[in-house]
Each structure stands twice: as structure tokens, then as C-alpha cells.
């Protein structure tokens, strides 16, 4: 496999700061990022990437490929949780299977963002509509996961399930903070176009890599801390957290190749399908599937799938694309 690719991904400051964060936990250092700062950084990244995407749409316009790409995104976002659920049922309770299926059907914005920073580093262009695709991929899996949970009989058929409102769930799925901020910034970017870009460039553009690096430092801390919880999850789920992303990536790769997405869009599409959520989904699932055990689905996506994707996945997927697309 192409060594330069691995290196140029690895020597990306954000990735290195992610390692620094993990290292700090392994050395039992007291390094810590205040929680409000972590929240601010994740909001910033959503705002910045959304705004960029909007400006991109403003410049590129909405053409045929845009529609196709978004359609594919929605498709994958609904198919992945389906087969994930049945694979998981093989070993887990309905509740846990549904929750994890939702987690892997949805996406991780930070993985996406790290991928864009690699693309920028390699001067590979990508379309602003990919951000819209990402935003649209967050929610469907949540709905599907909850549907499974409510369709299949579970141990707790009492209050647990009855005490539930669809309206609340739909709100959590489609209007949760991250989706709304992404979509809103996208719209604002598309509305203000060039002039808006000029105005915000120093904030949303120039600072982007620096703040991403800082945020990944925190992600490293958080992910490493969660690693401990994995002892209880067992080998089945650990391997699931690595193999399913690869499977999703392969499917996505095939689709992207089939419809002939440009390289950059293809990588982002693959990364979206391979990534798992650890922000929007846990918050929604915790309320809608109270039976599910959060110390399963959070560590899996945060401590395994996320690091796997940004460290091994990114260069791997890009390598494959370079190979197929030439």
C-alpha cells in the first residue's frame, strides 16, 4: 500500500494531536480540555464545515450529480442499520442491537472533517453538497433503530416502551443541535455566497485546521478513556466495530464507482458510510431505547471505529479509490 499516503495522513497535525491525547491518558497525565471548550470546538467545526459546504453549493450550483450523491447517501443511511441490526441480533438483545445499528447507520462529522482536511492537504477537490449529504445521513438510522426496537418484543414491555412520544423522537432525530447547526450554516453559506465567505474566511477558513487539531487532542483523551469500558464489550462487538465499517466502506466504494463520483466526493461518501455516530445518536437513543446499554454503543464508535477510520481507514479508502479511479 502506498506509503506516502499513510505518511501524509499521519503527518497531518490533527492526527498527531489525536495521538498526543491518547498518549496523555496512557501516561495517566492530568491533561484535560475543559468540557465547555470541547463543546465549543465541536459546534465550531459543524458551523465551519456547514458554511463551507454552503458556499461550495453557491459556487457549484445544484446539478445532476448532486442529486444522485444525496440519494445514494440517504440509501446507505437506511440500508446499513438494516443489516447491522440482524448481524447484531445474532448475539445481542433487541434493544442493544437496535441502538448499535442506529449508531453505525448514522455518521461522525469529525471523521468527515478530518477526511476533508486530508483532501485539502492533497489538493483533491470535493463538492459542497457532500456536507448536505452528511447532514441528511445523521437522522434516518435513528428512526430505523427505534422502529426495530418497538417492532420486536423485548424484556421490558411496560412503562419503558409505553412512555414514549414519536414527536419527541423525530425532533431529536431531525432537529438535534448538530443537524440543525450543520443545515443552518449550510443555508447561510449558500445565501451569502462570496461576500459571506470573505467576511467569515478568517474564522471558518483560516482557523479550521488549528481548531480541528485542538479538538482532536480532546477526542484522543476522550477516546482513550473510553477504551477501558471495552473490556466488558467482548470480542464480538470489538470486531464488529472494525469489520462493519470496512463492509460499509466497500459497499459505498462500489456505489461511488458505479455512478462515477469524482475522487474527492467518493472518499467523503465512503468515509460517511464507514463512520459511526457518538454525539447525535447516543443522545437520541438513550431516551428512545432506554433498555439499551450506553456503555456498549458509545465506546464502540468512539474508542474503536473513530480512531480506526481516521488512522487506518482514511489512507486505505483513498488508496482503493486511487487504484480504481485511475
Amino acid at each position: 500500500m502506498n506509503i506516502d499516503l499513510i505518511l501524509s495522513n499521519f503527518l497531518n497535525p490533527p492526527i498527531l494531536f489525536f495521538f498526543l491525547g491518547m498518549l496523555a491518558v496512557f501516561l495517566r497525565s492530568d491533561l484535560e480540555i475543559p468540557q465547555p471548550i470541547a463543546k465549543f470546538l465541536s459546534l465550531y467545526l459543524l458551523l465551519a464545515i456547514g458554511f463551507k459546504g454552503g458556499v461550495g453549493l453557491y459556487q457549484g450550483g445544484v446539478d445532476h450529480t448532486v442529486v444522485v450523491t444525496i440519494a445514494l447517501a440517504m440509501l446507505m443511511a437506511s440500508v446499513v442499520p438494516l443489516y447491522s441490526f440482524f448481524i447484531l441480533r445474532w448475539r445481542l438483545s433487541v434493544a442493544d442491537a437496535a441502538a448499535i445499528a442506529a449508531t453505525y447507520g448514522s455518521i461522525s462529522a469529525v471523521t468527515f472533517i478530518t477526511a476533508t482536511s486530508l483532501l485539502v492537504k492533497l489538493d483533491i477537490p470535493y463538492g459542497g453538497h457532500m456536507v448536505a449529504a452528511m447532514a441528511l445521513m445523521e437522522s434516518p438510522a435513528i428512526i430505523i433503530g427505534v422502529l426495530f426496537y418497538r417492532m420486536f418484543p423485548t424484556s421490558d414491555e411496560g412503562e419503558g416502551k409505553s412512555e414514549f412520544s414519536w414527536s419527541e423522537l423525530l425532533r431529536d432525530a431531525f432537529f438535534n443541535g448538530s443537524v440543525l447547526l450543520l443545515m443552518g450554516s449550510l443555508l447561510i453559506g449558500a445565501l451569502t455566497g462570496e461576500s459571506g465567505k470573505q467576511a467569515l474566511q478568517p474564522f471558518t477558513g483560516d482557523l479550521f485546521k488549528g481548531l480541528l487539531a485542538f479538538f482532536l487532542l480532546d477526542m484522543g483523551l476522550v477516546a482513550a478513556r473510553r477504551l477501558r469500558d471495552l473490556q466488558k464489550t467482548g470480542i464480538f462487538l470489538v470486531s464488529f466495530a472494525i469489520l462493519i465499517p470496512l463492509l460499509n466502506a466497500m459497499l459505498a466504494l462500489g456505489l461511488a464507482y458505479w455512478v462515477g463520483l469524482p475522487k474527492g466526493d467518493a472518499l467523503l461518501f465512503v468515509v460517511l458510510c464507514a463512520s459511526a455516530s457518538y454525539i447525535a445518536v447516543p443522545a437520541a437513543v438513550r431516551l428512545a431505547i432506554p433498555e439499551a446499554n450506553p456503555s456498549l454503543y458509545i465506546p464502540m464508535s468512539l474508542a474503536i471505529t473513530f480512531p480506526f477510520n481516521i488512522i487506518v481507514g482514511l489512507p486505505l479508502y483513498l488508496q482503493a479509490i486511487n487504484y480504481l479511479w485511475r
Binding site: 468540557q35 470541547a38 465541536s42 412503562e159 419503558g160 412512555e163 480532546d218 476522550v222 457518538y278 454525539i279 447525535a280 447516543p282 443522545a283 438513550r286 431516551l287 432506554p290 450506553p294 456503555s295 458509545i298 468512539l302
Partner: protein, 97 residues
């Protein structure tokens, strides 16, 4: 000084609004909330998840007259059953001003 029941509750932050709503419906004279509380219990550690607010607790305290205690407990219990948490009741003197 008026004798009151001092009810303190630790509950999942995501459920806080439901708890407060039912407190208000039962017409407590007031309550105090401390939003960020970590902890561990039967459901394992809840050190507060940095990214999503899952696994974070909130601490609620309310003082009410003896006669309000029963209905309050009946309202709180199901919430605790569903999302875990703890509810302690003790005696106190309210300094009326």
C-alpha cells in the same frame, strides 16, 4: 421554622426536564437544581460524557410539607425506575422569611 420533608434526587440529565415538569404539576413551592453531577451506581459510572450529554446526572432538591411527600414519591418513582437515579428523603426545618 416550619418542619418540612427534604427530598433530594439524582437523575439522568436527559430526564431532568420530565422530573421538573412533574414537580411543577404537583405544585411544589419550588426546587433547586445543580446541573452537573457525576456518579456511579448500579448502571455503572456516569462521569458525564463530554461529547453527547448522555451519562450525566443532575441533582435536584426540593423542600415540601409532609402531606405533599406521598404524591411526589409516586410521581418520581417511575422516572427513577426507567433511567436510574436515587431519591433520598430527610427531615428539615424551613426558616420561613
Amino acid at each position: 421554622m416550619r418542619p418540612v420533608k427534604r427530598i433530594e434526587i439524582v437523575i439522568d440529565s436527559l430526564e431532568l426536564h420530565k422530573l421538573l415538569r412533574s414537580l411543577e404539576q404537583l405544585g411544589v413551592s419550588g426546587y433547586t437544581v445543580i446541573r452537573d453531577a457525576a456518579g456511579t451506581g448500579d448502571r455503572g459510572a456516569r462521569a458525564g460524557d463530554q461529547l453527547s450529554d448522555v451519562l450525566k446526572n443532575s441533582y435536584v432538591i426540593t423542600a415540601c410539607p409532609e402531606e405533599q411527600l406521598k404524591p411526589l414519591i409516586d410521581a418520581i418513582r417511575p422516572l427513577l425506575k426507567r433511567f436510574g437515579g436515587i431519591c433520598l428523603v430527610s427531615d428539615a426545618q424551613w426558616i420561613v422569611h
